[in-house]
């Protein structure tokens, strides 16, 4: 199926605009839990799919937003390439558009970069029903404001993503995972010390008792780093990191609510009661905790971070970290610049817009 539904989707948006009827943008429907509850008529984008352009030697792939993430990854793998930010899928039907709109990145994020770092261009339909194109298929482009990266993590509130161009990278020659017993504080120190040295790190995590380190690169570089870092070789490291990324690891089966805390990597172990799983050298920490939201957020803010209520039974709660008043007002104006009538996924990110 290689369908270009641009004009149809634009017509649907214009129709909704005329009626001032909010739209709920749906890709593969794998992440309804993320963010605030969507409201409005469903706008299905999964039919708008297909790889539009792929030149392995250019390190660029462009695909329609409804293309299954798995299809994108398979096409890349055939050429020995990958999405460097290793996005989680959270379900078989995950689409590229949903992944970019949610701004999701996986285990390699701290070492290779985030989804937003690899977006080169997008086309989208704004809240006026206009189909627009920003950025492009080249590595460097500073013509006009960086509207493409602005879409990443915007949860579809600034536009219906149509096409996305990404920078891709060759898969590394070799990869291995090491595991060693360490407590959380020791692990934070070690992960950050290592990150300050020229070592081929590509993922780290701590499950509460053990520190896991993935090394990727040339054979020789990996062997040298293994010597230095120590630890036992983990069998089937790839499966381990996939379970972590997809939240199928045992840690994530321990109930709700699940918090995602984003912190300066070297932040010491926080004084928050609950279970903690660290990734990204300490910069992403998952917590299953019953500590009241305000209290938890206060601690995280004090350390220069922010907290997302990632999975919770209660849909109406504040999901993304509340913003200071001036910034919230500015973001509301940015939203209005793209979607003056507030018809695209209103309230999915913040209640105010």
């Amino acid at each position: 199926m290689h369908n270009d539904l641009t004009s149809q989707l634009a017509a649907q948006v214009r129709d909704a605009l005329a009626r001032a009827a909010p739209l709920r943008i749906v890709g593969g429907g794998t992440k309804p839990f993320l963010g605030r509850e969507g409201a409005g008529e469903a706008l299905e984008v999964s039919g708008h799919r297909g790889i539009v352009n792929y030149h392995p030697a250019e390190l660029v792939l462009s695909a329609r937003a409804g293309t299954p993430l798995a299809e994108v990854e398979a096409v890349l793998a055939e050429q020995g390439q990958m999405l460097p930010f290793e996005p989680p899928h959270y379900g078989d039907r995950a689409t590229l558009g949903g992944t970019i709109a949610c701004g999701l990145s996986g285990p390699a994020r701290a070492y290779r970069g985030a989804a937003r770092d690899f977006v080169l261009g997008v086309s989208l339909i704004n809240g006026r029903g206009e189909a627009l194109r920003f950025g492009g298929e080249v590595m460097k482009n500073v013509a006009g404001y960086d509207v493409s990266r602005l879409q990443v993590g915007a949860m579809g509130t600034l536009g219906v993503l149509l096409d996305i161009s990404l920078k891709v990278l060759p898969c590394t020659a070799r990869q291995l995972t090491l595991v060693q017993e360490r407590d959380a504080q020791e692990s934070i120190t070690l992960m950050n010390e290592w990150a300050g040295r020229p070592l081929p790190l590509s993922a780290t995590c701590h499950d509460g008792a053990r520190l896991y380190v993935r090394l990727s690169g040339a054979e020789s570089a990996i062997n040298a780093a293994h010597q230095r870092i120590g630890g036992e070789l983990l069998n089937d490291g790839a499966a381990f990191w996939r379970r972590v990324s997809e939240q199928q690891h045992d840690f994530f089966q321990q109930g709700r609510p699940l918090w995602r805390m984003s912190l300066p990597a070297a932040t010491p172990v926080l004084d928050v009661a609950g279970l903690c799983f660290m990734e990204w050298g300490g910069a992403q920490r998952w917590m299953v905790s019953d500590v009241p939201a305000e209290q938890l957020r206060r601690v995280v803010t004090e350390h220069g971070g922010h907290a997302t209520l990632f999975r919770a039974d209660e849909q109406s709660a504040v999901r993304f970290h509340p913003l200071p008043a001036a910034l919230l007002a500015l973001q509301a104006r940015v939203k209005a610049a793209f979607d003056p009538k507030g018809i695209l996924n209103p309230g999915r990110l913040y209640a105010e817009f």
Binding site: A57, E58, P170, P198, L199, A224, S262, R333, Y350
Partner: protein, 498 residues
Amino acid sequence: MSVIEDVLESNATSNDKLALLDALRAIVPEQAVLHEEEDLRPYECDGLSAYRRLPWVVVLPERVEQVQAIMRVCHQRNIPVVARGAGTGLSGGALPHEHGVLLSLAKFTSILNIDVANRSARVQPGVRNLAISQAVASLGLYYAPDPSSQIACSIGGNVAENSGGVHCLKYGLTVHNVLKLDIVTVEGELITVGSDALDSAGYDLLALFNGSEGMLGVIVEVTVKLLPIPERAQVLLGVFDDVEKAGTAVGEIIAAGIIPAGLEMMDTLAIQAAEDFAHVGYPVGAAAILLCEVDGTNEEVSEHVMHVREVLCACGATEVRTARDEQERIMMWKGRKSAFPAVGRLAPDYYCMDGTIPRRHLAQVLKRINELSREYNLPVANVFHAGDGNLHPLILYDANQPGELARTEEMGGKILELCVQVGGTITGEHGVGMEKIDQMCVQFAQAELGQFHALKAAFDPRGLLNPGKAVPTLHRCAELGAMHVHHGQLPFPELERF
């Protein structure tokens, strides 16, 4: 020059100016407010000296609260503000406004904090790019983006332009290496975008501020990411008797699964100029050279050097050199990094273009640039970031010859349109500024430009920040419009369009 007319209408009088000077002197010391012509002269242009204009007033604050107060005063009085870092920009971005305040960040030169554990540095916007890496070198860290102007350009300017450098292929642009910004808004409010963590809540305004050319706010503090200095770096120099072969080699190196730290190309004229200037032993007379740097662990570098050498030879390199030691590696780069000033000695003036193209069109585009060079009878030296397809054709001209600047600009415009035609962009790293404002009408359709204006208005509804730059008015494009077709679908590329 016609572009200069496209600015805010202003009925400012000399009384307004006196009142403004009084208001500014209440914020900063008397000597930090410049208004005599001789004092204003140094601020009349940035690195693109073909565009000059005296500002009304220059003000040099040294504290964030002063910047806030200055913005409040200007906002109250509807006075345009142009921020300026080191003034090395190459697109007229810091070109002053004749009835506006030029806000220099030159006194903000402190490195405020170095966080070793988190590998970041908090610096003021006027800190020079290279000064950051120098300050953290003893910790085994560095700041990756390295524009050739790095001894002079400011980090605030780097953010405003989303600057690149020779090591961007592997380590990314400014946007990939900045964590947090403090911004003073047009109303004088202080906001923070980004965070000390790897992401922040809400829209990614941090990404938006990178490359926003002083149009959305004044950057008063920058937190940059620091990387560990690689264990070893080695550079290979491939010599080619044909530009096309060199172009092919660029793609082949990347296709081989190697991401070099830097991959730069120079053509005959650029090689000659750099050699005369820097005496680094470049092969004068070669059609092209490729400089390919690989870095990583000791063993990894050895592996990659062998591999790259094979690829270069397979692509027809007549000679491949590797630096024998660090000294020689630095020399090899010195030639490249001094290429602009070196080419500058070949003619009274040069005009630096900045288009980016998908690499597979490299040979074709270089050939067409050569043809244009002959048509216009203006020599062109090519020295550029080949790895990411970012071209820097340098057109040599003499501004004192009547009509030569106009011809140069016309030819430059054609090169940029050619870049758009093959699916690229009019600017890879130097920004639109004043210079490429007309080519923006080629790159974007009305609706997209309209979206840019709406976004700008969310930050600066009255358009006081850097007016007339970066995004053309729809009116301006409409006037040019009859001559353009958008998205590269130029039906008769050979036809005259200007």
